[in-house]
Symmetry: C2
Subunit: 197 residues, 2 copies
């Protein structure tokens, strides 16, 4: 049922998703939905959790076997494709209340950054800068994808080209940064936990 809501949101826009609309889509009366979700807020959060997990899996699959700029490119493209093909789902993930750290949505949000964390392992980032770098990647590609999905880029210039240009910009910036001196004594950060940013 949450999946049906997510599909409907992708079709008509997340802001236009109503309990009545979803009930109609399911061939059911509105109050029946309350046997499955606690209300619209609950529905929205479940769609968000679904979207975050789907995005993580898709992006994770896209970077398999890649590293460095290839991985960055693949991850960024996978995110962009996800947002363009599932704008409603993705919109559900914006502006969530994440204050309860063990809430399923907050966990999904934290885990959704794992692929980007993996991408950063292909660059020479000082351990103390890991959070900054992760926040940077997230901001950058979230920003592009949401503006593009919202029709914010006017003009004829190809957004595909702009996107590739942006990926190159980020790759160059990550490399141009003064490299950290040799290997730190402590073991490299392991992957057992995606760092929430």
């Amino acid at each position: 049922m949450v999946a049906a809501g997510a599909d409907l949101a992708d079709e008509i826009g997340f802001a236009a998703l109503t309990m009545g609309g979803l009930a109609e889509r399911l061939g059911v009366r509105t109050p029946s939905l309350y046997k499955h979700v606690a209300g619209q807020e609950d529905l929205n959060r479940r769609i968000a959790a679904l979207a975050l997990d789907e995005a993580r899996h898709t992006i994770g699959a896209a970077i398999q076997g890649r590293a460095g700029r290839d991985a960055l490119r693949a991850a960024a493209r996978a995110l962009r494709d996800f947002v363009l093909t599932h704008p409603g789902r993705y919109a559900a993930t914006i502006g969530l209340d994440l204050s309860s750290p063990d809430d399923p949505v907050a966990l999904a949000a934290a885990r959704s950054l794992e692929p980007f964390s993996a991408v950063l392992r292909g660059y020479d980032i000082a351990p103390g800068d890991a959070t900054h770098a992760l926040r940077a990647l997230r901001s950058i590609f979230h920003g592009f994808a949401t503006i593009e999905a919202g029709g914010g880029f006017q003009w004829g210039t190809s957004t595909d080209e702009s996107f590739d240009w942006l990926v190159d910009l980020v790759d160059l910036g990550l490399r141009a940064r003064p490299t950290q001196q040799s290997e730190p004594p402590s073991p490299a950060p392991t992957a057992h936990r995606g760092a929430p940013s």
Copy 2:
């Protein structure tokens, strides 16, 4: 009245802005508002236009007398400050319908990019890449500011530091890009019109 709506949106969040709430704030009954705006949609767009103009002026003032990285930093900080101090106004500017090119909101949106266009004149960007670079700056700082304003950055790590790190990343990326060969024969792009992206 639009300004009162913008202030209220900053206080309670743009999504929570209602005609009834604004009427109460103004000490007036709801239908009276319809003598001034055509409806909620119209109110939202007017708030968006106000916000875009205010942001443009604030960012424009911040980059006066600066160039290169200083200008980039100043512009990015001014945008971030604007979003953090006026989250409701800024949220009104997201996802606007810009399909009518001579609509006041579309004009304000196009003009709002002028300061970033000016910042880019401090870098050696090939003319054909101007739109890409402008879209990049917009995506990057929009992304960071909206995620931060929405409480999306968890953890204790300072968002101030992350922001400065991001600005450096962009500056380095813009400089590391293979430089265009010498001066183009045509005159440098003038400032008389901000390029909508």
